[in-house]
Symmetry: C2
Subunit: 123 residues, 2 copies
Amino acid sequence: MREFMAITKALADQNRTRILLFLGDGELCVCQIIEMLGLAPSTVSKHLTILHQAGLLESRKQGRWIHYRVARDGSPQVRNAIEFARAGLADDPRVAEDRERLATVLKMDVADLCCRYKTQEPT
Amino acid sequence: MREFMAITKALADQNRTRILLFLGDGELCVCQIIEMLGLAPSTVSKHLTILHQAGLLESRKQGRWIHYRVARDGSPQVRNAIEFARAGLADDPRVAEDRERLATVLKMDVADLCCRYKTQEPT
DNA sequence: CACTTGATTCGTTATTTGGCGAAGTGTAAT
DNA sequence: ATTACACTTCGCCAAATAACGAATCAAGTG
């Protein structure tokens, strides 16, 4: 029950579900996820922590960067949850939008991204 | 996305998930669900409304009683969610406890239940 | 009709949650 | 070593949420 509630609570936020979906089978560093969501770094970090603690994400530290990806060796509950989210939102317009936007973000220089989230762009 | 979020938010509460599971394939009136959860009628009513609006439950009015059951003709998302919850908690001790308790509640006279939830039992 | 009664809605309260910015951590570069 | 930087933690605030009791609604019953 503990695990199930952690998972459903993790999924019960739109931004967290978006993260899970646009990660797909790839890997993104935190600054790229920040760029995708357009939220404050601290907020995104918290979301990532919640997803990670629920077992939905795994992380990899590489120098100063931390890369997140969807958990590959998750428990049955975790795997079911991921499948449930993917199936339910496969055709969602918001998710499609994120997929497109991801292509753009991936083309950006990571260094630019990381700098950008500190110095507020003038819009 | 709307529907998905409604479902995950509905599942993101332990009491609501319990309702979904101990309903099983049967039907219970609100006073029985109140007895199962041991919460105030108004609270339970709200939980039922949330589950119903998410499409997870259907209701049937019979005289003064309202019977709830798990939605049979739900959308794909709804069906997946129900399956996800059932699979994830099939072996959960809390759920097993509820299943046992349900047997007791089903043996009670419904009229007694409905009276009881107003006049706080001395235990 | 008045009365009871099962269930919901309303109003309030306490807790949780999502968001931000500032401060802290740890790692690379200078 | 000092600085820069990627990320997290902390402290705070506003909004959402779970809980309750009181009031209300709806449907039998006397």
